[in-house]
Symmetry: C2
Subunit: 205 residues, 2 copies
Amino acid sequence: MEFNEKQIDILLAAERLFATKGFDGTSVRDIANEANVNVAMINYYFGSKDKLLDTFFEWRVPDFMINVDELALIDNALDKIDAMVDRSIKSMNSHRKLYHIITIESSLKQRMLISEAFRKLKLHNLEVISSVINEGVKQGVFKDGYDPILIHSMMMGTFMNFQMNHCFLQDQLHIDNDEEYANYIETTLTEFIQKTIKALLTYEK
Amino acid sequence: MEFNEKQIDILLAAERLFATKGFDGTSVRDIANEANVNVAMINYYFGSKDKLLDTFFEWRVPDFMINVDELALIDNALDKIDAMVDRSIKSMNSHRKLYHIITIESSLKQRMLISEAFRKLKLHNLEVISSVINEGVKQGVFKDGYDPILIHSMMMGTFMNFQMNHCFLQDQLHIDNDEEYANYIETTLTEFIQKTIKALLTYEK
DNA sequence: GTTTAAATTAAACGTTTGTTTAACTTTGTC
DNA sequence: GACAAAGTTAAACAAACGTTTAATTTAAAC
C-alpha cells in the first residue's frame, strides 16, 4: 500500500479531524480544506468517505504490536512486566489520535467492520500479556488465577482514560501543554501501571 | 425540571440512539421514529437538536455521585475501598448508556460545554477516593504517595474499557448475553478492581 | 357550546451532505 | 509537438439534514 504526497495529506488531515470531531462530525469538505485539496480529490483517490476511513485504518493499524523479541531477552518476570507496559504505553501514546478514533468508532454499532483490524491487535497484545504472566507464575514469582483479559483491560482502559479526559486531567494535574502531558503519560502513568500490575500479581491476601 | 410522557419518550429514544450511533450519527428523524412522535415535536419541546442534548444531560447527570454517608459508617480502610468501588461500579453500570455518550461526546472538541456537569461528578468522586485513601494512610494501613487521580483513572478507565469494547470482550469472555455481561462487571470486574487498588496501596516494594 | 391555548401534523424551507460530472491542466511517452 | 493518461478543478447533482410554517386536532376553562 503506497500513497503519493497528496494522498498522505488527505489521510493525515482526516486523522486530525476524525480525532477531534469524530467521523460523522467531519465533512469531506472539512477534510479537503484541512488538506488543501479540492473536494473531488477525496473521491477520486479513495472512492468515498467510508472507504477513506477503511483505507486510513489499513494504512495506520498494521504494525504497532508489542515487539515480542525484545521481551524474550528479559529473564526476570517483574522486569518483563515493566518492559511490556513501557512498550505498550509508548506505542499507544505515539499513535494516540488513531487510538482515539478507533475507540470511538468501534464502540458505535454502525461501524463494526472497522474493529476487525483492532481486534487482531488486541488479541496479539492479550497473548503477549498472557505469556508474560504465565512465565512469572511458573517461576513462582506471580500468583496464579488472574485473567489476563482483566489486566489487559486495566492497562488499556487506564491509558485511554487519559486520552478521553485529556482536558479534565491536564487541568487537574496542573499541566499546561500537550507535550508535558504526553511526557507525564510515558513516565508517571507508565510507572503507576507497572507498579499496579506487579502489586496485584504478587499480592498476598 | 419536569417532563411529560412524550418528552420522556423522546429523551429515552435519544439516549438509546446517541449511545449506539453517536450524536452526529443520529438524525432528528431517527429520534422521532424511535420515539414514535412527529419530527416537529422535538423542536417544539426542546428547541433544537443541540438543546435536546443539553436537556438530556441536565435530566440524567444530576445525582449519581458516590453516597458518602454509607462509607462513613465503615471503619476498616480495606472494607471502605471495597464499598467505594462497589458503589461506583454499580452506579456507572446502571447508567452505562449515559456514560458511553458522555465519554464520546466530551472527548470531541466541538462539545466542550457538555463536560461541565461531568466535570463536577468526576471532581466529587475524586474527592471521595482521596479521603478514603488518606484515612487509610493515617491508620497506617496504606502506603503514602499515591495520587488519587491515578487510582480514579484506573477504576474509571477499566470500567469504561468494558463499555467501549463490549462486543470484543463479551466474545473473549464467552458470555452470550448482555445481562450476563452486566453481571460479570458487577461481580468479577468489581472484585478485580477492589483487589488491584488494595494490592497497590499495601504493596511493599 | 363557545373560546382559548396547547398539542400535533404534513409539507415545505434553506443548508449541507457525499458524490459525480464535464471541462481543463499537467505530466510523461514516442 | 502530438498523443494519451493522470491529475485537478468549479459546478452541479440528488438526498438528507435541522428547522419552520401554517393548518388542524385535542384539551381545558368558562
